[in-house]
Point group: D2
Chain length 380, copies 4
């Protein structure tokens, strides 16, 4: 029973199963597929780049569903895979269809599936957790020790179809636009990062780095009642976008001292919460300088190297709380995302800046590489 | 040294000191006061009503300040005193100048005062805490066992001048309108009630009873990220005001089943938080019926009698958390109020519906009695 | 597939399936069962009492396990069923084998079972949760809205064999004595009640009512670092047992004012936490009188009627937190129980006072009725 | 009014006031002091070492008390000052009587003192907080931005007498032995470090480094309900002492992999809480390796240099919470210390290993330097 691999959480779900019949590299067209084939973006060999391929439509196990993808969005992780950076080279087994953020229609459900039905529109929690480790059993599945990730550890969603465990499906309201539905997963990152560790009502928040998740974090922080959101970001275009998302003050860390400017804005050492979305060592050090005693420092951005910190001044004497964020709470964060979207409290549509056909993936990745964009959507 | 009484928290600060020279009952004018006299609204004898009197301007101790009142607002407690209900009869010692919500200018400061200076505009935390009991010493001054209340246990602010301990002064921004500055104390009640016990981001909230503090609670709950705020209130005018403050759904508990309607609105037993501002037994029972398992029930409204509850179904099987709210956190809540007002996140100005001259107090109290008003301001 | 009923959580798992071949009421012997029969204690008709019967050994579905019971203990709930009180009459459908606390050997496992294997010794979380409601999906399965209870809503463990969903099985260490293994479920109640809502390190705790779960709560509170545990209990024998479990002070509520005595012991209004295990109205009112401002009042005991409280003085002015407790956290509480037992930190063996053969059930229930016992074990 | 400096928190209370009449360096005797003189251990010039001097008995302001020291203990900070390390050279202004942990009798109280009376036995919270900064005003005085420390920023207690602000006095029970009374301040560090951030009931704790505060932390963690306390410490004698304080498992980090050994002990990545008392970079890195996903890492030990960490693996992917600890909560932690000592729950007497006369300070500091001791007491 193939989907039993999920339960063990030890092995890649589709390992060795992806029969890669790359009969031809497809260019600009998906029109001549046979019924059982689909187009997909895959990393075929351990090197930079990716290819549009024709692949078999996945078959599903008794607890899996097959989803016809409506829209998928590109994550920073996908860019790492595309660029084949050291992290990707160490983690990804080729051939691999990547991509993990999506929305689509359930077109087939395994015989044991109860969570969703054919015809529903779903997105997915992309972390497939083992349900058996200590973290999973105490309700902290987002800390699962055996987590497998869609499009990283098994075949992903940059494709016409994607197979996922039914337990990972999240039903969407039919009213939710596809462009928003497919970015709920990274929006969940933003919501989790902003809300975890302390509440924000009447608090002053400094967000370091506003790529797409940072931009969403700005909007979320405002919805959570933050009095003022200060953004530090070297890219002028992203600063402007942050302003549109609700940022009250903007800092260019290349030209200003972040901590001094934040204190000047607030009239003292009054940054209650710092949220690092950059993974940049200087930004992190700046953030600790700005943080008030007793404040919260949330780490979400992934540093590419080790980071050197003065722990005494940054954390110990400050009585700081540092919160590491990975993934989203399953399903608490998803419910929060849904309620904020459904109620109209949160509008993240400005974050979506570009939409491409799946076949235009190379153009889309170049745009991602330039940084001159928010979320980029691919439509199969 | 008179202000030492504060420290002990055992006795009323001004007890026996209010030399009531009621030379005449003043009508409609304050122009002929001598320098050391002031006009004030006082309860002179243990009976309903109040009188406009001429009183001596308070003298201050070394740690007290004298404030020239700019504006004062009427609290439900003041109405209890005015009406001389059983609670008032058991608590208030006449003669008593009542009133406790105000803003004004510091015109004199005792020799040991460091907290504020002459010329500053201040409101006051109206609970004078002992600083020595266990609650005070563990940072929970709002739970002080020896709390004395301005305008209840010692002479209040329905007057040209009021004397308070300097440690109770809260400096206001000069930009803050007097009408808002003077209602920060009850706004603090609303903020404390809404925020204590669990955060509201993406949550559904049911508020029972929307007098002025309830109305403010509606606006605060929205600022805190509540997905939906449902209000149950029998008074149609107040329901309308709640709508203006941001309520998403309105229930008339006289004509609808509160719990059934709330579940209908939300599509299930999904009220995460109930905030009772009414003190009404039926409302409280309704609220528990509506509350989801594991939800929070906040009690702020004061029932006039004992309340009978099915604890098994209301609290135990539900795994409910019940949170009692009295006063405000000193000074955490005040900072939250300030940040929300200063940053423009929160607008409670619609709550203020009427302004009267101090001399028109009788008219103001009649209006309060009718319930056809929000906050009512008196200006000396 | 019979075990699918669990998923829906809507219906009783074994409803209509318990083919009651009560060929004879068995007296004092289990030796002449056929291979497919077992002895069991069942409520055959809606009236007080129970009967020893011969029943078919349960068959299991693909996600269920069959357990050969080593030991089972009698819960207060079982006594309610035995006595056929109004709660039981409203909830229990006869015929019903009751009983839910047990330990035993897995002798058969359905084809889809992965959680445990034949040969393991297991106890069970007795609340079968639906996994699909909001509470379940946010990691609060103990608040499940569709919870079904072993021995209440479907056939229980007062028998040679019991069938349970594999997901509800909790593997026991082979070193754990059967008498302790089978009382882990109520011990979990005690651990959850003691730990939920605030930590106890250096705190003073008042426990109201010390039946077996209350006795365990005394020991747990001490392990949690409580400075002093005060017990109020009218039964002298139970007070003595509480002392043996670690209680520091004992109050007889029939002869002393609980609140006055507690304050006398502590030198002031310094009861930080009250845990009601009695469900008794007077005890609950006493407890609120004793509770300090800002303290925690945990409700676990189930009042048989509605309770009348002065909410203003008991909860609102006190700033009290009231915490309703039902069940246990799945599986956080179970892990805590395991760690405390395995590490030798917690010894609850004195709570077990009597062991009977299953056939002696009538004697055991009479003893339970008398109150002159701790936990009573039945061994098939 | 000299004690007003406390209020401002900006300046050293006794700065420039310590009239150092060092008429002679005293050797081994305090018998020929005049009435207004006292003996003290002072750092007279910015260099290693200290001297026994004759100094004037401090005069007190209206809100200060004069305490005749019964016993004082040596903190690691005092050793830094004695050794004149870079931190001390940058912080301490000579001449300075150092020392801050003590117990003694109140022999004089300023006219405005209400907190304690002559005749009481007191210890002191050694952090003199400003009461006016944001942290102080929100009940987080332990995060005060203007904190002044006894024996660091103003004259300390290695002397016959010490003057402190009355608000910093903590009354001791007359039954408390002097050796325990004087170490309550560092015991408060241990209690704060162990309890802050998450509760320990049934949890597995790894303590890195067991100097005296670490030893106390071991005992405190056990009192808090920790299932198992694992200690990593290179000094064999300290490991033995940790065992005596209740440690369940000992690791020598010079000969074993801390993380591997901890997981071997626990049967998996199950260290719930790491408490670093060492400030050692390798220990900190070891600790993060050992920490389970979602665990708490408490930092108390002060690294002498910046520390390099893999934040992605240590904190972000782990979803770790890092908690910086400085000082103690005022007065929550002191109450916890008192309740645990008074109730007999906690015994830290084995931590006190040596007692010297104040005149033997050089011998005491040499012993401290060797590390072959627990807490060392000096008696004037």
């Amino acid at each position: 029973m193939p989907d039993e691999h999920w339960r063990m959480g030890k092995t890649c779900r589709h390992k060795g199963k992806f029969s890669m019949l790359v009969q031809m590299v497809l260019v600009m067209s998906g029109s001549f597929f046979m019924a059982e084939k689909m187009k997909a973006i895959a990393k075929l060999k351990p090197a930079p780049g990716a290819q549009l391929i024709e692949a078999e439509i996945p078959t599903i196990g008794p607890r899996e569903i097959l989803v016809k993808v409506r829209a998928t969005s590109i994550c920073g992780t996908d860019l790492h895979i595309y660029n084949w950076d050291p992290w990707a080279a160490g983690r990804i087994k080729t051939p691999m269809i990547f991509g993990h953020e999506f929305t689509g229609d359930v077109v087939e459900a395994g015989e044991d599936v109860k969570e969703v039905a054919v015809g529903e529109i779903v997105s997915a929690e992309t972390h497939v957790i083992c349900d058996t480790c200590y973290s999973c059993r105490i309700g902290e599945g987002h800390h699962c020790q055996n987590c497998q990730i869609l499009g990283v550890d098994f075949q992903g969603c940059f494709a016409d179809y994607v197979a996922i465990p039914a337990k990972n499906a999240w039903p969407n309201s039919p009213e939710l636009p596809d462009e928003i539905a497919c970015i709920q997963e990274p929006l969940g990152n933003a919501v989790f990062a902003v809300t975890e560790g302390s509440e924000l009502v009447g608090k002053n928040v400094l967000i370091l780095g506003v790529g797409p998740v940072g931009e969403m974090a700005v909007a979320v922080a405002k919805v959570c009642g933050a009095a003022r959101v200060i953004v530090s970001e070297p890219n002028a275009g992203r600063r402007e976008k942050a302003k549109a998302m609700g940022a009250d003050f903007l800092i260019d860390p290349l030209n200003e001292s972040v901590a001094e400017r934040a204190m000047e804005i607030l009239g003292g050492p009054l940054v209650d919460v710092v949220i690092d979305m950059s993974g940049n060592e200087k930004a992190i050090r700046d953030g600790f300088l700005a943080l008030r005693n007793g404040g919260r420092f949330t780490m979400f951005g992934l540093p590419s190297n080790e980071v050197t910190l003065d722990l005494a001044d940054s954390i110990i004497f400050k009585g700081a709380k540092v919160v590491g964020i990975s993934g989203r709470k399953i399903w608490q964060t998803w419910y929060t995302v849904r309620e904020l979207l459904d109620s109209g409290r949160l509008d993240v549509s400005p974050v979506v800046t570009h939409t491409f056909a799946l076949e235009q993936f190379a153009e889309a990745f170049e745009l991602m590489r330039s940084g001159s964009c928010g979320k980029v959507i691919l439509k199969p």
